[in-house]
């Protein structure tokens, strides 16, 4: 029994983790339940997060992984493979065996990097499983600036071109959010690159940049410390999770754009495997404990099954591609 999988994902620690988990699961994690899909899964599943630990994708992934393993009766191990705006981790999933034991947990950035980086991913390399989370983009500003509304930001930005310093992860969703907002508001801004959401949070907390775009959940600690102000969300209407936040439309900027997270497997994964994973996600998304935990962290829950997810992705892909083209950020088109 040669136990060395040729998969690129088979990292030492991971396998160590699986082994330890296999032990642990026997003790703590197994919730006895009859499974309709006896064949899958029979060993731990790796959930690949293409961003560093602590970021928004990691955050959601860890909550989902916890509930997913209760449904699947197998450990679900979160593995961070950060780099290149999420491209590295995404490619690793594409290269993995389509046996269902390597699952990608991707965010909006997965779509945007198809067009915005020189070494892109492609939607065609994956099978879609399900969507689990959906949050509107939000805008925050450094408290040092004294801006209290979106209109204040727009006025300041228009008054002096290039004076607004905006944090971005190049090519990733935060970049698109920022560029779309600035274009819509008619502002020329200075875009400052960062490697991840937590680095941007530190920079805006210290007033080194003025504006940042992310989801509300990721901005909360800094707002609690009084270092930043969240000014609004890019949704059609106010969100019940944080009803105090106005929409960008109310602030005079007509922008609806959002961030989501979903599960993906490599191309070629069998329908049985996809169904098994999708059904597990469907079940967990209805669990009160799951809903409670997501809510406590200001994260929105939105479940879409395989079919709806596919349609959703197609329309998102179209929307982001046209946004990216309009913003002149399409590097792939340029280089071809």
């Amino acid at each position: 029994m040669k136990k060395i999988p040729s998969r690129a994902v088979g990292e030492a620690v991971d396998r160590g983790r699986r082994r330890a988990l296999a032990l642990a699961s026997g003790v703590a994690l197994l919730a006895p339940m009859a499974s309709a899909w006896a064949a899958f899964p029979e060993k731990p599943i790796n959930l690949i997060v293409p961003f560093p630990p602590g970021g928004r994708t990691d955050l959601v992934a860890r909550v989902v992984a916890h509930f997913l393993q209760l449904e699947l009766n197998q450990p679900v191990v979160v593995i961070n493979k950060p780099g290149a705006g999420g491209v590295l981790g995404a490619k690793e999933v594409a290269r993995a065996d389509p046996d269902g034991y390597t699952v990608g947990f991707f965010s909006t950035g997965f779509l945007t990097t198809q067009y915005t980086v020189p070494t892109p991913t492609s939607l065609a390399e994956y099978e879609l499983v399900s969507l689990i989370n959906y949050d509107p983009a939000a805008i925050s500003v450094s408290s040092e600036r004294g801006w209290n509304t979106i209109a204040d930001v727009v006025a300041a930005g228009r008054a002096k071109p290039m004076s607004l310093r905006v944090g971005i992860n190049p090519g990733s969703s935060a970049h698109i959010f920022a560029a779309a907002f600035m274009t819509e508001a008619g502002i020329q801004a200075t875009y400052v690159p960062f490697r991840g959401g937590s680095e941007r949070a530190a920079a805006i907390g210290g007033g080194h940049i003025d504006v940042d775009f992310d989801i509300v959940a990721a901005m909360k600690p800094m707002q609690d410390s009084g270092k930043i102000k969240i000014l609004g969300i890019a949704a059609d209407q106010r969100d019940p999770l944080y009803p105090e936040l106005p929409t960008m439309k109310e602030g005079g900027v007509n922008l609806t754009i959002s961030s989501w997270h979903g599960l993906f497997v490599p191309k070629g994964a069998s329908p049985a495997i996809r169904d098994a994973l999708d059904q597990a996600v469907a079940k967990l998304s209805a669990k009160p404990e799951f809903l409670e935990q997501m809510k406590s962290q200001s994260l929105g829950v939105k479940y879409l099954n395989q079919k709806d997810f596919k349609e959703f992705m197609a329309s998102q892909d179209e929307q982001f591609k046209s946004t990216i083209d309009r913003l002149g950020l399409n590097k792939v088109a340029k280089s071809q």
Binding site: R62, V63, H208, S225
Partner: protein, 514 residues
């Protein structure tokens, strides 16, 4: 009064039997992970994270923290005995620790590493308790220009390490390290750099095979080459007491431990800097102010005391940005953040008010854990010191196997062993020609941060270099860099002039007979 109340709350939480138990499991596991090559603390925490689901949040965090600071204790062992850094943060410990072991003072080196870690850990915790709130926003004061100035200062300091032979050579090694750090995808534009179409190079070179090659394998090659006389004929010290640092060694280390703790605490506060950088800078500073810098690299006990203290103090202060602002200072802290979140707790300014029992329980548990660690580690010193006494030729396979497992363990990929071997051969020849390896290692670690902060600064300032001088912290750090850079150059020029003088004398003396 309020503090006493908080501490008593902390003790009541930390001394609960379950929490004591998980604290012990954590530090034990951490020690193991630190001692054994190939198992990193980040990997160990990731491994145990899912296991903690079934524990109470406080127990879980206490255990994970135990792994983290426990691994810092254990990391020095292989550095001292085999010149293999168990953790990147103990690279500097290799330099003098291994030399001490070759001179028969392995026990003293291991002892000072353990006691230094203990003292620094306690000092760091005192700092954490007293300064957590005032220093909460310290990390936020560091923007891109400050980070760039900090990395420049760090590199300048460490390049001085190589100045025994030649500053130019140390700078070459630093520049090579920076270049190696650029291999892979550009952090800003995601463009491929120096990958030559090799897929595995896209994610860059791994630090672990690199340091294991540079230090462990190159040492092994030195041993088989027969460069070093084996430490035979050394009297075996009798009893544990004789093994441990003697009065003289303690006196030499006291200052180093204090300064290492202070520096480690400060550097550890900054996200992205952390234990590795703090141990390098502490070592460099210690050598800089030492009355006998020439002893460094040849078995100076301060060279073990300062980096080991620094990385443990940094461990304590690294919790400040996490607990007060929700900012993870490094990969391990990010995993800790994940652990908090999984248990439904968001670290940040509200943690202290909403979950005081958890906050203070964690801090007091670190006191308890440090005491457990010192009790655990001191008896081990006697055992480990025996390893240092075996003949060189038995050391060769020991180093080989430890390095092989260590490099293989990173990705389960034999390619990493070849990378390690390449760096080993490079390190072997580089050292023989007077190129020191420490600047290269630090530069490799700092490179990505340095590049990113430089590019961010220039974008922020629209290409104005004044951005580094306008801001007080950045300007101070740059000023320090200039001073650090100038002193050795001046000293070098002075020495050269002196030499020239000497040579003229010699020439005039020996001239006629030649």
């Amino acid at each position: 009064m309020e503090l006493l109340h908080s501490l008593s709350l902390g003790f009541s939480v930390a001394l609960e039997p379950m929490n004591l138990f998980y604290c012990f499991i954590g530090v034990l596991f951490g020690t193991l992970v630190g001692v054994l090559p190939g198992l990193g603390s980040a990997g160990a925490i990731a491994l145990l994270l899912p296991v903690t689901y079934s524990l109470s949040p406080t127990s879980a965090i206490i255990m994970l923290a135990g792994i983290w600071y426990g691994s810092m204790y254990g990391g020095s062992t292989t550095s001292i005995l085999l010149r293999i850094p168990g953790e990147p943060a103990s690279v500097m410990t290799c330099v003098d620790g291994f030399e001490m072991a070759r001179k028969g003072r392995a026990g003293a080196a291991l002892g000072i590493a353990a006691f230094g870690s203990f003292i620094a850990g306690l000092l760091g915790l005192v700092g954490l308790i007293l300064l957590a709130r005032p220093l909460a926003t310290f990390a936020l004061d560091f923007g891109p220009p400050e980070y760039f100035a900090l990395t420049l200062l760090g590199l300048t300091l460490v390049s001085y390490l190589g100045s025994d032979t030649s500053i130019a050579k140390a700078l070459i090694m630093a520049a090579l390290g920076l270049l190696l750090g650029t291999i892979g995808l550009d952090p800003v534009q995601s463009a491929e750099r120096f990958t030559f179409g090799v897929l595995s190079l896209q994610s860059g070179i791994d630090l672990v095979p690199m340091v294991m090659g540079l230090f462990g394998i190159s040492q092994l090659l030195q041993l088989v080459c027969g460069d070093e006389a084996p430490p035979e004929g050394l009297e075996a010290p009798k009893g544990l007491r004789a093994l441990l640092p003697n009065r003289e060694e303690w006196r030499a280390s006291a200052g180093a431990i204090a300064r290492g703790s202070f520096l480690g605490f400060i550097v550890g506060l900054l996200p992205g800097a952390g234990g590795t950088i703090s141990s390098f800078t502490a070592y460099a500073v210690e050598k800089r102010i030492s009355k006998h810098p020439e002893q460094f690299g040849k078995g100076a006990i301060e060279g073990v005391a300062s980096p080991e203290s620094a990385n443990n103090a940094a461990t304590a202060s690294g919790f400040i940005p996490l607990l007060t602002m929700g900012l993870p200072a490094n990969a391990v802290m990010a995993l800790m953040l994940g652990a908090f979140m999984l248990h439904g707790i968001t670290p940040g300014p509200t943690l202290l008010t909403q979950k005081p029992d958890m906050f203070w329980g964690l801090i007091v548990s670190m006191f308890v854990g440090n005491i457990m660690l010192i009790i655990l580690n001191v008896p081990l010193i006697g055992l480990f010191a025996k390893v240092a006494r075996i003949k060189s030729i038995y050391l060769v396979p020991l180093i080989a196997v430890a390095c092989l497992i260590g490099a293989y363990g990173v990705n389960n990929n034999p390619t990493d062993i070849l990378v390690m071997l390449g760096f080993g051969v490079f390190g072997f020849y580089a050292e023989r020609h007077g190129f020191s390896l420490a600047p290269m290692t630090l530069a490799f670690v700092l490179g990505p941060l340095m590049e990113l902060s430089l590019r961010q600064s220039l974008i922020l300032s629209d290409g104005e270099f004044m951005v580094f001088l306008d801001r007080p912290i950045a300007a101070t750090l740059l000023g320090g860099t200039v001073v650090m850079a100038l002193v050795p150059i001046l000293r070098f020029v002075g020495k050269k002039r002196e030499l020239r003088g000497m040579r003229t004398v010699m020439r005039s003396e020996s001239g006629p007979s030649a």
